[in-house]
Symmetry: C2
Subunit: 244 residues, 2 copies
């Protein structure tokens, strides 16, 4: 009986958030021609303990080799599989202000199956303009079918926009507005709130809560515990050009 993969049992929330980080590490190693990595190395690069890495990966089925770590290509594959990167899905962005524009122009945002389907705004100066190959539509126009909607409107408008998106059949929202949304059961909302992140940082600074955990990865200062010569496959000449 072959490995019974697919439907890799339910993963915990923190695990899901860490997988994309492990995957980035795997890709970086692949692109540097390396093909084995162990939990210790992943842990150092991701800012978590080796045990946590092993538990997370064990949840994707046992594909590591005792004594030799993980095959980087398989690691990447298994994570992609677990996160559903084989499927493509459509994303729309509502609110084409500075942030909306920054997101759609970013090479780091719409990746791994995400495909930009449409842009919406209600500012007459913006509607009709073209951005990354899409003409910004008015919110009065019908909402195109999509899997996820990204909300980048001011907080006062966020609830109304969310209502409209939900009734258009979109049940996954990524909300950048500092506003908790009231949505029907069955709709997923994720919040990204910049100022809250800053405030958390300040709390720890004020209270000297030394190590301090955080955003996604808590990443306390990892001071490269093992005196590994160079962990990053190649330190990359750091071009330091352009900006996100």
């Amino acid at each position: 009986m072959a490995t019974p993969r697919l439907r890799p049992r339910k993963l915990s929330e923190p695990t899901i958030a860490r997988l994309p980080v492990y995957q980035r590490i795997a890709e970086s190693w692949t692109s540097h021609g390396l093909n084995r990595i162990d939990s210790q190395q992943i842990g150092e690069l991701a800012g978590v303990t080796a045990t946590t890495v092993r538990r997370d990966l064990a949840g994707l089925g046992s594909f590591g080799t005792r004594g030799a770590g993980y095959d980087v290509r398989v690691l990447n594959e298994r994570i992609a599989e677990a996160l559903g990167h084989d499927r493509q899905y459509d994303v729309i962005v509502v609110g084409i202000g500075n942030l909306g524009r920054a997101l759609v122009n970013s090479t780091n945002f719409l990746i791994r199956g995400a495909r930009l389907a449409a842009l919406y705004d209600n500012d007459p100066d913006v509607v009709g303009t073209s951005i990354v190959g899409h003409v910004v539509k008015s919110l009065d126009e019908p909402i195109v079918p999509a899997t996820v909607a990204v909300i980048c409107v001011p907080p006062e408008a966020a609830q109304a926009v969310a209502d409209r998106l939900v009734s258009a059949g979109i049940h996954a929202l990524l909300n950048f507005a500092p506003q908790v949304l009231n949505v029907p059961i069955g709709t997923a909302v994720h919040y990204v709130d910049f100022s809250i992140e800053l405030q958390i940082l300040m709390y720890h600074l004020n209270n000297g809560t030394g190590p301090l955990g955080g955003g996604l990865l808590h990443s306390l200062g990892i001071a490269t515990p093992t005196p590994t010569p160079t962990l990053t496959p190649t330190p990359t000449p750091t071009p330091m050009r352009g900006a996100l």
Copy 2:
């Protein structure tokens, strides 16, 4: 003996992330002339249970009134105190691309004591230009003293920038680059990674993990359990103008 406040014992990480949300709710009620709120109402507006709200607030000292909830003004005050909003602190932003620009132009980012101290970039086309009253400095210039640095550079440049900031004496970093940073112990790093948020959302969609938790607040669909007439103090006419 008066209430022994200040040094309100250590708060848990999830609690700290929720306090800013409660505070926003308190401010909204204040601005609508309301001055009492109970844990049930806060919970519905914040997307968490009433018990969680009470536990969180109990950690700030007992200032609620049994039978009558919390005084909105005191609530706001206590949270501000706990999060250190009395102090002002300087923030610098490194990497003035689309995202950096969006952040400094946002009215929702640098709030509650945060004060923009300087902007840095290394693109000659950007250095010297003026944004929100600040001339963008070159990264070759000395780093001004600041409490927090916001990193908005491409991932390849992030580690080098972080090293520079740390050696300039900045020990709190808010990193928007999809790159885990290696910093000395004693330096706090928080990560905001847009694409990871999208990926988490997709995981849940693919796996039908119904309720689904998330970003900061997990906020599963709250379908206004109690048939409260209108919880938002006044539904606000939703101007829906402009964008973040």
